[in-house]
Every structure is written in structure tokens, then in C-alpha cells.
């Protein structure tokens, strides 16, 4: 006798497995990058991309300045041969007297740029909008892959200058705080296929 067709039914065991596995792939599906082209530069955005989180967010809420680094790299093939890279730094701080969660963000420059009274998501958007990479030298029909790395710079090591000379804690040097890093990938892409946006200036 033929086994009855179960269609799209999923067993309770599979639901359980799926539930356990979900935290291992945090929001990756929602984080697909949107890459746009303004005629000179490539820009990235994503509705599901949040980097003000975890330990770095705790550090911000404790009043520290946290430096974030966003790096865009372009690859000739599927993330093996890199041919272009651009990096941007952002200094973010949290206003302890702000109404609600209010952040300030600036770029070290020159030229230095600054934005104040931003919400958490507006801060993330401001940073992402500032990230770009020049598309010069890429043919409109040439395939390429794009990778975005976002990381929070861990806190500095304690000062080595003391009253008794220069003192270095070896354990601290060899066990620095781990980077909080997120990587997002897109590709294959072609300039001809990308959504065109108005020009926003040239990038290196």
C-alpha cells in the first residue's frame, strides 16, 4: 500500500530542530544587502541591518564613545579575489540625559561630519549612508561581488604609564576584548542591473 501523501506537513521533531537552530543564524535572511549606484559610487543599505547591539551598545549606554568601522570590499569572483576596498570610521556616543535612546555620531575626518539627536535606527542608517566605494574601472556588464564588514573597536587597553615607570599587563595584552563583527555579502552584481540613485559625490 502506498504511503499516504503528507504534503507540507512538518513533524513536531523538525519544528523543534528548526527552533533550536534559529539562534545560530541571527537574522541573516533579513540582512540581505541592497546595493545602489549613483553613477560614481556604490552604496549599501539594508532594512534588517543593526550593528548598535550587544556589548558595544552596553558600552554606549554606560557613556563611552564606541568606534565602529565599516569596510566595503569588491571581489572579482565569489569572495576570493578582492580588487577594491574602502573603510569608514564612526564615533558613536549615547546621550545619558537624552529623552529616550538618543545617540550622536561623527566621523573623524577630515572633513569631520556630525549628527546629533538620532534614534538607534537613524544612527545606523546615517552610518550606512556614509559608507560608499568608488565604482570607477568597473564595466557596466562586469560581474562582481560585494562584502560589507561592520565591527565595533574594542575598548583601549589601560594606560601603561604609572608612577613607578611603564607597566604592561601581559595577560591584558594577549586577551584583548573580542571584536563584535558582522559580515554581509551580496553578488553576483552588475552595475547595469543596480538601482540608480542621484549622485552623492565622489569617494576614493
Amino acid at each position: 500500500m502506498a504511503e499516504p501523501f503528507r504534503g507540507l506537513q512538518i513533524s513536531r521533531r523538525r519544528w523543534l530542530l528548526a527552533g533550536l537552530a534559529t539562534p545560530l543564524f541571527p537574522a541573516r535572511a533579513a540582512d540581505s544587502l541592497i546595493v545602489t549606484f549613483d553613477g560614481d559610487n556604490l552604496h549599501v543599505s539594508s532594512l534588517g541591518l543593526h550593528f548598535l547591539q550587544g556589548k558595544s551598545l552596553n558600552r554606549l549606554k554606560e557613556g563611552s564613545t564606541v568606534e565602529y568601522v565599516a569596510a566595503i570590499a569588491l571581489f572579482r569572483d565569489q569572495f576570493a579575489t578582492q580588487f577594491k576596498r574602502s573603510e569608514a570610521h564612526f564615533l558613536v556616543s549615547y546621550d545619558v540625559w537624552g529623552t529616550g535612546d538618543v545617540f550622536e555620531v561623527s566621523t573623524p575626518g577630515p572633513p569631520s561630519r556630525r549628527a546629533m539627536n538620532l534614534s538607534q535606527s537613524a544612527t545606523e542608517t546615517w552610518c550606512l549612508e556614509s559608507v560608499r566605494i568608488a565604482a570607477s574601472g568597473i564595466g557596466p556588464d562586469r560581474q562582481f561581488w560585494l562584502q560589507l564588514d561592520l565591527r565595533a573597536v574594542p575598548p583601549k587597553l589601560s594606560s601603561v604609564l604609572g608612577d613607578s615607570g611603564i607597566n604592561v599587563n601581559v595577560i591584558e595584552v594577549f586577551t584583548p576584548g573580542a571584536d563584535e563583527r558582522q559580515t554581509f555579502k551580496a553578488g553576483p552584481l552588475r552595475l547595469a542591473d543596480l538601482v540608480r540613485t542621484p549622485p552623492r559625490g565622489r569617494a576614493g
Partner: protein, 420 residues
């Protein structure tokens, strides 16, 4: 001179490299209401309370930010200072809302260390007359126990240049916080300046002989008699390997005693510190010592600080009776005493009588000093010498030029490096 210019550039970069954090942190516009330091089982609000867990110097640095605009970069430095002073595993800081709008509270949390491993450069000094001197050590601290092993080459402090290894064990809590124990063991190879060798040949009876190596072992215990008053007692066993073809070994075994006092008075916008100590070292035949002598010394240091102004007076005198080894004789004309004079010129064999006074004025990192001192043996006339100098000092980095005050040819002495 090449080293001097490099040193100037290095020190200059340290002085004028300002922190960037205060510009980029939105909270830099708020005023610090108070500073709270907490550890395992203790909390101190420095605006209204005092604590003996933190030294007066560091407490002053912490309270100095109260009432000022917040400088987040300075908090990292203060956390580092707390971590160092309290031998903590970690010191974190957070900024929270104060009781008054637009004011913030700075909270430091001290997490005690179970163990630490450190590398320390205690001294790294260039003196245009004596050359380079340096010392460093690696230490392991487990709870109150510290083990350290170091290297040293010092041509500044004693009549000789010592090069060798140092080892130290320290227990800062011997049953009680009032009692600590320390054991030092050092082994040095000794080099002599030509002027010292010539002086020894010219005046063979003036001082004991030269040696090519020496080892010293020094166990001491320090007890807190009353909070600002401590007494250190112990022993010092030294072995000297004589120079020359019939090289033998001589010993200097002594009992050592040091009484120290420290007090500090803080007022509105100023701080006064007073340190005093007196020491007695006695080596006798009873202790199986080849050298029999008694060394007494006493010093008083007074410092007044107000804002960027600091005035310090440091007076010290020493007296040796009997026949002390060269390493125990007094020296003036180095980077601490009678700066600007060359020790090999004024006292190549050291002296058994010395008196010294130094007055220093600091404005921020800039310093000016006037040293006055005399060194002699009991059979010699007392000659007072003077020197003046200018310099820059930031943290442990120091750069100074000292000029001896005398007639005839004057050669300034240049000193730079890391001085504790």
C-alpha cells in the same frame, strides 16, 4: 646629542598629543556631579566620603574632575590608574544621570584580580655624563603575593655601574594588612669609571677596595605602627668579589631599620604632602661582617600643590662611621642629587658624609629646580655646591638640563628618559 633630539621629539609628541574622545562624546557637555568608586564589599562617593583604599594622590586626581565638564578620555586614564594601584583585574567606568539635570555621576567599578602577569620598565635614563641606565622586570602577582625577576644596568645611582639581575618576592598581607614581607636577591657585575680607579690608586686608604661583582640578599618586614607611620626592619647580606689577581670574597652583613612617616592635608584648591624617613644600617663582626660600619640617614620632603603649581623641597643628610663598602657610600652628582654636577668629578669614591637640599617648582609639565649639596669624608673640608636646571616632566617622562654653578668652564648636563 642625537639621542637628546630624539628624546625631545618623543616627549613633545606625548605632551601635545591630546585625547580626541572628549570632542566626539555627546556627554562631554555635562558637568561631573560626583565620582563613585566601588569594589568587592565597598563603595565610596568621593564628593562626600574619604577612603584609605585609594592613595591621596589618586584620590585628588579623581576628585579633581568633580565640577568640571566630563572628559571621557580622562576616565580611561583614571580607570587605568585605579587598576594599577589596586592591582585589580579590571576597572570599568560608566556615566549615569546625576541628581541635577545636565550633571552626570561617574562610577568606577573595581574587579579584584586573581592573578596578573606584568612587564615593567622602572627606569630608562640617558645622562650626558653617565650614559644610559635602565631597569625592568617581569612580575607575577597571585592574590597578595608578587614574584618579580628583572634586569638592570645602572651607572647613575652608585659610584659604580652595576649590571645584572634582580629578583623579588613580596607578601603585602602577612596575616594582617598592617604587616608585609619582602625579600630581594640581586646579583651584579660591576664596572668602574677610570676616575674612580685613579682616585683609588691615589688614595688607597680613603675607601675600601674595588670589586668586580657583588650579590645582595635583603629580607625585610614592614609593620604599620600607626596609620601614617611605618617601621621596616630586616637584614642585608652582601658579598663582594674583589678585583685583582688574588681575588677573594668579602662580606657586609647588616641589620637595617627604617622609620617612615607620610601625611597629607587637603584644603580648598590645594594639597600639602609631608614625607619623612630615617634609616639606620649597622654591620658588625657579630654578624660575621668583614666591613664594620654604621650608616645613618634622614630625609624630609614637603610638597605643596595648587592647580598647576607645585613646589617641592627635599632635604636629606647622611652619615657613615666605620668602613663601608663603596656601594654603600653616598653619591651626589647624579640624576637625583646635585643634578648638573658629575659624580665622577666631585666624589669618584663616594663620601661618608653628605647633605643635600633640592627646591623644585613645577607649572604643569614645566619644571625648574635648584639643588645644593656637599659630600665629604671626615678628614676633608666641606665644600658646598649648587646647581640649577630647567626641564619638562609629564608622568614618568622627564627631560632636563642642569647647570653647575661654578666659575670657569661650565658644561650643562642633559638628562632624559623614564624616571619614577
Amino acid at each position: 646629542m642625537k639621542h637628546a633630539w630624539l628624546g625631545c621629539l618623543f616627549l613633545g609628541s606625548l605632551l601635545f598629543a591630546g585625547p580626541q574622545d572628549s570632542d566626539s562624546n555627546v556627554n562631554a557637555r555635562y558637568t561631573v556631579e560626583t565620582v563613585i568608586v566601588s569594589g568587592k564589599g565597598w563603595t565610596t562617593n568621593l564628593r562626600s566620603q574619604t577612603t584609605d583604599k585609594i592613595s591621596i594622590g589618586l584620590r585628588q586626581k579623581l576628585t579633581a574632575i568633580i565640577g568640571q565638564k566630563l572628559n571621557p578620555a580622562a576616565l580611561d586614564t583614571l580607570a587605568g590608574n585605579l587598576k594599577k594601584e589596586l592591582s585589580a583585574r579590571e576597572v570599568t567606568h560608566r556615566i549615569v544621570r546625576g541628581e541635577t539635570p545636565e550633571q552626570v555621576r561617574v562610577e568606577f567599578e573595581v574587579r579584584p584580580a586573581r592573578a596578573s602577569l606584568g612587564m615593567n620598565v622602572n627606569q630608562f635614563l640617558y645622562d650626558s655624563q653617565q650614559g644610559w641606565s635602565g631597569s625592568g622586570e617581569a612580575d607575577v602577582t597571585v592574590q597578595q603575593h608578587t614574584f618579580a625577576l628583572g634586569l638592570l644596568s645602572n651607572g647613575d645611582w652608585l659610584p659604580e655601574r652595576d649590571s645584572g639581575i634582580t629578583a623579588r618576592y613580596e607578601d603585602k598581607h602577612l596575616g594582617t594588612d598592617r604587616l608585609s614581607f619582602r625579600f630581594d636577591a640581586d646579583s651584579f657585575h660591576t664596572q668602574w669609571n677610570q676616575t674612580t680607579v685613579a682616585a683609588m690608586a691615589a688614595h688607597p686608604g680613603e675607601a675600601p677596595g674595588l670589586y668586580r661583582a657583588r650579590q645582595q640578599f635583603q629580607p625585610t618586614a614592614t609593620v604599620v605602627l600607626a596609620k601614617p607611620l611605618t617601621l621596616t626592619v630586616g637584614a642585608r647580606v652582601e658579598r663582594f668579589e674583589d678585583e685583582g689577581p688574588a681575588a677573594g670574597t668579602e662580606g657586609a652583613n647588616a641589620v637595617i631599620t627604617t622609620l617612615r612617616y607620610h601625611s597629607s592635608v587637603e584644603g580648598l584648591g590645594y594639597q600639602q604632602d609631608l614625607d619623612a624617613d630615617c634609616s639606620l644600617r649597622t654591620a658588625t663582626k657579630v654578624l660575621n661582617s668583614d666591613y664594620v660600619y654604621s650608616m645613618r640617614s634622614a630625609g624630609v620632603r614637603y610638597q605643596f600643590r595648587s592647580g598647576k603649581h607645585t613646589v617641592t623641597d627635599n632635604a636629606w643628610a647622611g652619615f657613615i662611621s666605620g668602613r663601608a663598602p663603596l656601594s654603600d657610600r653616598f653619591v651626589l652628582g647624579n640624576s637625583y642629587y646635585l643634578r648638573g654636577w658629575n659624580k665622577n668629578e666631585i666624589d669618584p669614591l663616594g663620601g661618608n658624609r653628605a647633605i643635600h637640599n633640592s627646591v623644585e617648582y613645577h607649572y604643569g609639565p614645566f619644571q625648574a629646580f635648584y639643588d645644593m649639596g656637599a659630600i665629604w669624608d671626615e678628614s676633608q673640608p666641606i665644600v658646598a655646591r649648587h646647581s640649577v636646571g630647567l626641564g619638562v616632566r609629564e608622568s614618568v617622562f622627564s627631560l632636563a638640563v642642569a647647570i653647575p654653578m661654578r666659575s670657569g668652564h661650565v658644561e650643562p648636563i642633559f638628562m632624559m628618559g623614564i624616571l619614577p
